[in-house]
Symmetry: D3
Subunit: 240 residues, 6 copies
Amino acid sequence: MRPDGRQSDALRPVRFEMGFSPYAEGSCLVKLGDTHVLCTASVDEATPPWLRGQGRGWVTAEYAMLPRATHQRTRREVTSGKPSGRTQEIQRLIGRSLRACIDLKALGERQILIDCDVLQADGGTRTAAITGAWLALKSACLWLKEEGVIKTDPVHAQLAAVSAGIIGGEARLDLEYEEDRVAETDANFVLTAGGGVVEVQATAEDKPISQGEFDALFALARRGVSALCDAQSAALAGRS
Amino acid sequence: MRPDGRQSDALRPVRFEMGFSPYAEGSCLVKLGDTHVLCTASVDEATPPWLRGQGRGWVTAEYAMLPRATHQRTRREVTSGKPSGRTQEIQRLIGRSLRACIDLKALGERQILIDCDVLQADGGTRTAAITGAWLALKSACLWLKEEGVIKTDPVHAQLAAVSAGIIGGEARLDLEYEEDRVAETDANFVLTAGGGVVEVQATAEDKPISQGEFDALFALARRGVSALCDAQSAALAGRS
Amino acid sequence: MRPDGRQSDALRPVRFEMGFSPYAEGSCLVKLGDTHVLCTASVDEATPPWLRGQGRGWVTAEYAMLPRATHQRTRREVTSGKPSGRTQEIQRLIGRSLRACIDLKALGERQILIDCDVLQADGGTRTAAITGAWLALKSACLWLKEEGVIKTDPVHAQLAAVSAGIIGGEARLDLEYEEDRVAETDANFVLTAGGGVVEVQATAEDKPISQGEFDALFALARRGVSALCDAQSAALAGRS
Amino acid sequence: MRPDGRQSDALRPVRFEMGFSPYAEGSCLVKLGDTHVLCTASVDEATPPWLRGQGRGWVTAEYAMLPRATHQRTRREVTSGKPSGRTQEIQRLIGRSLRACIDLKALGERQILIDCDVLQADGGTRTAAITGAWLALKSACLWLKEEGVIKTDPVHAQLAAVSAGIIGGEARLDLEYEEDRVAETDANFVLTAGGGVVEVQATAEDKPISQGEFDALFALARRGVSALCDAQSAALAGRS
Amino acid sequence: MRPDGRQSDALRPVRFEMGFSPYAEGSCLVKLGDTHVLCTASVDEATPPWLRGQGRGWVTAEYAMLPRATHQRTRREVTSGKPSGRTQEIQRLIGRSLRACIDLKALGERQILIDCDVLQADGGTRTAAITGAWLALKSACLWLKEEGVIKTDPVHAQLAAVSAGIIGGEARLDLEYEEDRVAETDANFVLTAGGGVVEVQATAEDKPISQGEFDALFALARRGVSALCDAQSAALAGRS
Amino acid sequence: MRPDGRQSDALRPVRFEMGFSPYAEGSCLVKLGDTHVLCTASVDEATPPWLRGQGRGWVTAEYAMLPRATHQRTRREVTSGKPSGRTQEIQRLIGRSLRACIDLKALGERQILIDCDVLQADGGTRTAAITGAWLALKSACLWLKEEGVIKTDPVHAQLAAVSAGIIGGEARLDLEYEEDRVAETDANFVLTAGGGVVEVQATAEDKPISQGEFDALFALARRGVSALCDAQSAALAGRS
């Protein structure tokens, strides 16, 4: 039995609050059970020097947690003077994933900065962040098109992310915090609505897993991403 | 005329969402017009070394803004490796103000950490943070008492904070961002419900002000704090 | 009785040594009792990028203490890699205060950097620094005028700063270290010779003070600033 | 055709120089074509505080490149004050992978620190580092057993790592630098000699890949790891 | 001709103001021409952990310049977050030199921290700092003896330091700033009153010097140190 | 008797592996007994801003040790965020020494960056680094000439460096680690093949040494540098 009684292949309840941040060009508060992540997309016309004159744009991401997003308070990273290794890994992952679904030439010489700030953390914050960040990015691109800044929407693929893991030998979809901390293997999948593979990160914590176990996790993830993409589409439809 | 049509002595609409952060011992999302600050109070039984064996507790505060709380995106402070001078001033101010309304001996040898995170910024974030932080602190102390950890509520005074400024020679209460950036003088007052003075910080930006102008700002602040304290009391009553 | 037998409304003996630093465009060693602060003003024609093309100048300040300015040795701030929150607050206060008494357009596109280095600390270093910094700034502006770099002296107001506090219920002017550490309330006032208000910072340490107490502190400060401005004028007269 | 004429499923020539660092408890210079990584294992009996009293040990890793390991000189990371995000990701990956093949209880309360320093870089440094680090770790554990410090060798699995990628639609094993920089998809696999999965990290750079492409990369990696494990075994045999 | 008309083997006028810092256990403001360095010695009974239980003490030094000690203002090192390489070299040199003239066992388990702060810089600040630091250290040790903390004065040798350099082929003693910046070779000597060698640091800036030139610099330094030691002795005598 | 049975005036066996780093414009792995330092020279045509338009080049150096170059593992300096004082002193020494043997105008507006990375440390790493760095620099300059980038070799002097010290009252050449840690006095000499003096750094650790002892160290160093220069010449001859 899972802590909240879900089936092993079930997602937690998902909800997207579009336009949560009124000043951002695109934003979405994603709620996946008790994991809440605020994702904003900021369009920056002042591109960084290395981007200039290349006729293409860039998408990058930052990630952080509010100190009391967690059961126990977490120290602010500014206190230690730099983002932790975990934070850097996550922001690199979000940025790479989003760049795989956008045509940077069609975006033009501008940068979109994605901020993912975790207001409440109950496991799966990085995958929730990617799922919400895609909506923020998409909204910002639609805004750019509506404003007449660009002619075509540069986002060429829809994507979402989900975690899966093995607990007591059982493969489970979308681990919450209590499951995550005891999982033997933890995996994150970023996949497209059309079944394409964007990122796979699987880690056996204590001992290696078999090929069959890896395949089971992958199958769960495909199922989860499909459901998340449906929910994203509904949220986008409600935006207009 | 003020941007939103308010009288010069009127506050923006105020709303307190108590218990916004489910994991924190006390929390409050304060909304003062378009300024939204999430305040949490975390009880830490593992006191810092310098506090041990003194038979008293401590209250300290941290403050930050989400990057896209502002009209233009602001860089995260972790990027530059340390909190800015402005941030440090604000967190010192919040901590000092709260320590003036609590009996640290009655709190016992434990620390309460206040986190004020600005989700949306439209001027007056530091005073909104203090007003909300008092509610978070009060809630955490009530929780400590309800849990039987302490016998009496150590909070001996109710306080709130508000800004006032001079624009075009006119004294105005509770400046929003558009007013704040053109104000000739900016002042912040932390006062108690009973009329006590906790902190006064007045700054003439371009040229000195007269004693009369200073007194007018102080009078506005007293009026504003009184209204904020009433709203706090209502929010606390609704908590139980 | 105060430690040195002064009346509650009396300043410590004050002395200004003009031109203490031979290389600086303006300088003053201010001695207020056993508090000694070296203030220098450095004219920098190479303005920072954000200032260029705006037809106006800038005044900024830095503050530090020698490690053995204090009774117990204090760690150098470079050891911890950044100025403390206290230091940043003080340098921001000094800079703001000075900018309120100078016409930045009349200064032209150049920067004046004020350095306040505490050689000996016996309480009230920040207010002594402001009082001395005004003399250093004024001297540098007179030098600029004498050199023919600018036509008119851009300093349009004379200012000084002083502390006041409440000890055992009594309001006292110009606290020395032994008083400062036991004061219930500590306040700093930056006022002009003409009675204008530039900065007020009042902090109740343990419990709020009454409006009457606040007014008493303000009255003491006016008296102190008036005496300090007289001493400044004498020092300036002696300069020529 | 690949730059060096290899088949798409062929590794570069591999060579392990065991005991390269005379002072280390275990060491190996791994050469995979023109990629040379020096891996050392240092046994530290002074365990970190968080490890004490738990009856188990720890394995952690650090990774760096000499400035002129690369075609163009790379800045030292100490110059910017912290390891880059890339470096932190790699050292976390190495540490996690090694901890999945060792019984930390059997290791006892001691720490083994793995250092992977790239002397020459021609692509695939992180996977070469893992492959060499396993040999350094294994050597240090055998040394601990030979010295009588521990009774049984705590390393319960043999592992190696290899990269694979897609270039011009073709799946290739063990990319060198010239291939790596143009690859559409880059994947790293850490697998055991017995076929177990320890880590999978696959990243589609520009656009998502199909499930079939992902499977092709995985198949290549299995083949490559098998060959690397054979070479490791031979190197270990030659050690005694 | 030298800038101030001195002979090539002449020191600048030297003056020691003993007890300049009233709070320090030992202090001296050394003036060597226009180079003024404030040296303080602080006794710290709370020794660092690595010193405990070894039955001996330690002497260490820190060095800094006030921003406007120089003709052009110098940035504070705290601004860049760490002492420069030059500063670290100088403080290591001062500390090493002083440790060579003191019996650390006779000092007992306590630390003496030397602070050398340059108030005015006209060349030769590091050697002036050593010469003044010896007086501060000696004073602090005499104070420890007078207070009855230690039985015997642990300072077993008297030392001073001086610079010498080659300009236009001529060897000169005690370079001032205008000479220092054009010198072909710059050397610093720390020698004892009895002719012992404590530190020699000679650097040929543009091209190597001959053995004869090196010997000439050494001879000048011996002469200079002898005169400085005489002046130190006179200052010490005047102290009592 | 010395640890390895050498005479007091004998060097350890010396070996230079030219071209160790295939990507560098010049490189040399210098082995002096068990001290192994990899020295590379990187030509950088993108000169730093302060160098531009002056018609001359620059040579600078960096130095580091691999963590397990030493008997006990040493922490990486990136972990503490900055190079240690010792490291900065060494890199400044290497850079200064090399600049004294090269005509920076003849080098043209380009920079040569020397990297000295210690693979194995058994005492004398800084002097070995200088000796090897000269070979790397010379190789890079010959490469620049062979490539036709410059017309004449700008290196106008050959230099090498060696340590000497006093142990038990005996002067010894080229100390290894076991000797270095017990030496009463430690000195490093950078001299040219023609007998010129480039750098002298002598430090009496516990007590001053006599002039005669200093002269004995200098004489040993001359002998050692002469032998090292012969070995350098042989290595350079073998290069062509």
